[in-house]
Symmetry: C2
Subunit: 336 residues, 2 copies
DNA sequence: GTTGGCACTCGGTAGCATCGAGTGCCAGAT
DNA sequence: ATCTGGCACTCGATGCTACCGAGTGCCAAC
């Protein structure tokens, strides 16, 4: 596609632009390491690169900045980047010291990633639908208020406050719980909708009432994945753009957890590990780039870590950080 | 303290400055409703107000802007403000339709508040220490990995993944659970540290091992309140200040959940419902103001709702919003 | 005590010249 | 045939000046 020289000129432009955020001129490129030709030659090549859509000029007589296509080419040409010593050390010690519940750890991981990359970071946990119910419990909070608690095989918990119209005996609750337990254990929680209430000649019993109240609660408000998303370092985006409007719209996106999950899933589904500008599929992220990596627990892919920054982000750094953190996070979760 | 006329001039200045974010001059004040004197008189009074520290000038020959003291006076002089019709309607319909778990509802509440006030909103849940354990459960995830689950009387759940060195029999887990249950039910979870392991002549049993592993887990990483804080609408702060640095530092604060809880608690403890600038006790919030209101469940104060915005926020609006939302939230939580 | 008038201040904006980083192109060197 | 140095040109950024106008403080008159 691009000959060797064009490629290295493009690389030099992207690298300098990432550092300075200023349009880069032929002079700078000519001085860049790895460039042995004069600025005039660089100019010719840059004009060609512009014609092919890799670079653009903010205005005549300014330097060039990479287009989306330019970043894409740059990223595709990157060979597996590795993390610098001190960053790698930081990651290691983070996971050595990590403690607390999974949720806490995932949240802390976003902070780690954000710190490593000076961008916003996102960690998405495993989708809830895949986890299997391990135990079911009904705990009475007040006479007519019951808490449904399901412990899932992966250590997460689903709970629901259930409002019963009437007060139900302890015995009724116990029998309801064992009925639910029987039907749900080993199944994903969505199996709840299949639990039928037995129809008795004498009309609905206490137990039926309990079971159908639980079923109803999950029907009205089904599980969504929004509380399995953790976002950190959003404040880093403030200085990423100079247009306040851009900043605001990006932050607004990050506040919508469901949107964030969808975004990450979507990018992963397309088999990308970097989505640049419009590749994210979200108009407000036109000027952003997203770098993602999956993490696996016991060989199974359960979640995603990602970094969101300006399109002119430090891709090598971000790619390395995401890869390493994803790997280490997976290991950490696998071991316990 | 301030005579009638000075007070109304101060009020006029604050109100206009809140609207326009521009220094306000004597001319505008003279034209404000409720002001019957000429601009010259206003000038004299404003000079006096400046002398007394209620107003300040960004530079000679500019209008005045309120100082912290000025805002304070303004707020103190406010009589219980009420919410406008459409906002009140919005709050009502929000709580009528609210569903899902408490956590979800609190998170949504921050969005409601943020929407009402165009500021960032914070909701703090009840401190975890006060809740009493209702049931205790140990669920085995893998042979040597156990999940400790405590359902609390207020419907919240504490869980902990416990790494046992060795694999423990189902029976051992059950007996451990009932031991823990016996010791903890009716107590706050901190009582865990008091659970002693019986010392047997034959050395520690399986049960002792389980119990002490649980105790150890909570000793290493004690409960903190950070996951009982919900922040919403942080993106609103982007346009609140024109100094990017200010925005960043404020957002950074909002990202630190523990800091936010402490901040709110601290303000409430001082008996304030508005903290302006340095009254917040946090240097980065110098230019902000915080408006808070408690909410009660069954007559007991369990949490706080708050709004964080620029010092020139719309206080009447914010005060009314937090009051109404706090009230309604309390009611909603009391009923189920 | 209040007010209109007045001189003064000073940030903001518009106009203008200048500067310089950058470009495209061409003619000569390799 | 390709690269390079040179050159004329472009155009945003910077700095200067003039000016406008919102606002002030003060004073004399009502």
């Amino acid at each position: 596609m691009l000959d060797e020289r064009k490629a290295s000129i493009l690389r030099a432009v992207v690298e300098e632009y990432i550092q300075t955020a200023q349009p880069v001129g032929s002079g700078h490129v000519a001085n860049a390491p790895g460039i042995t030709v004069s600025s005039a030659t660089v100019r010719n090549e840059m004009a060609a690169l512009e014609g092919e859509g890799y670079l653009t000029q903010p205005h005549t007589s300014a330097g060039r900045i990479p287009t989306e296509k330019g970043y894409r080419e740059f990223v595709d040409a990157l060979s597996a980047p590795s993390l610098d010593r001190s960053a790698a050390q930081k990651v290691k010690s983070f996971f050595d010291q990590a403690h607390g519940e999974i949720e806490q750890m995932l949240a802390d991981t976003t902070r780690l990633l954000a710190g490593l990359t000076d961008s916003a970071a996102v960690v998405v946990g495993p989708p809830r639908e895949v986890a299997r119910v391990k135990t079911v419990q009904l705990v009475s909070l007040t006479p007519s208020l019951v808490l449904f608690v399901a412990v899932m095989g992966n250590g997460s918990i689903e709970k629901r406050t259930i409002e019963l119209g009437i007060s139900v005996s302890e015995d009724g609750l116990h029998r309801g719980a064992s009925l639910l337990s029987e039907a749900l254990v080993g199944q994903p929680i969505s199996a709840l909708s299949l639990v039928g209430s037995a129809v008795h000649a004498e009309g609905p019993t206490e137990v039926d009432l309990v079971v159908s109240a639980v079923r109803e609660a999950f029907r009205v408000a089904p599980l969504d994945d929004s509380d399995h998303v953790f976002v950190g370092g959003a404040s880093q985006m403030v200085s990423a753009f100079d247009a306040v409007e851009t900043v605001r719209s990006v932050l607004t996106i990050l506040e919508q957890q469901l949107v964030v999950v969808t975004l990450l899933r979507d990018v992963m589904d397309r088999g990308l590990n970097v989505a640049i500008g419009s590749e994210t599929g979200m108009q407000p992220l036109e000027q952003c780039a997203l770098v993602v990596a999956p993490y696996t627990v016991d060989g199974e892919q359960v979640g995603t870590v990602g970094v969101l920054g300006p399109a002119r982000m430090n891709y090598p750094q971000a790619l390395a950080a995401v890869a390493v953190v994803g790997k280490r996070l997976g290991n950490r979760l696998s071991e316990g």
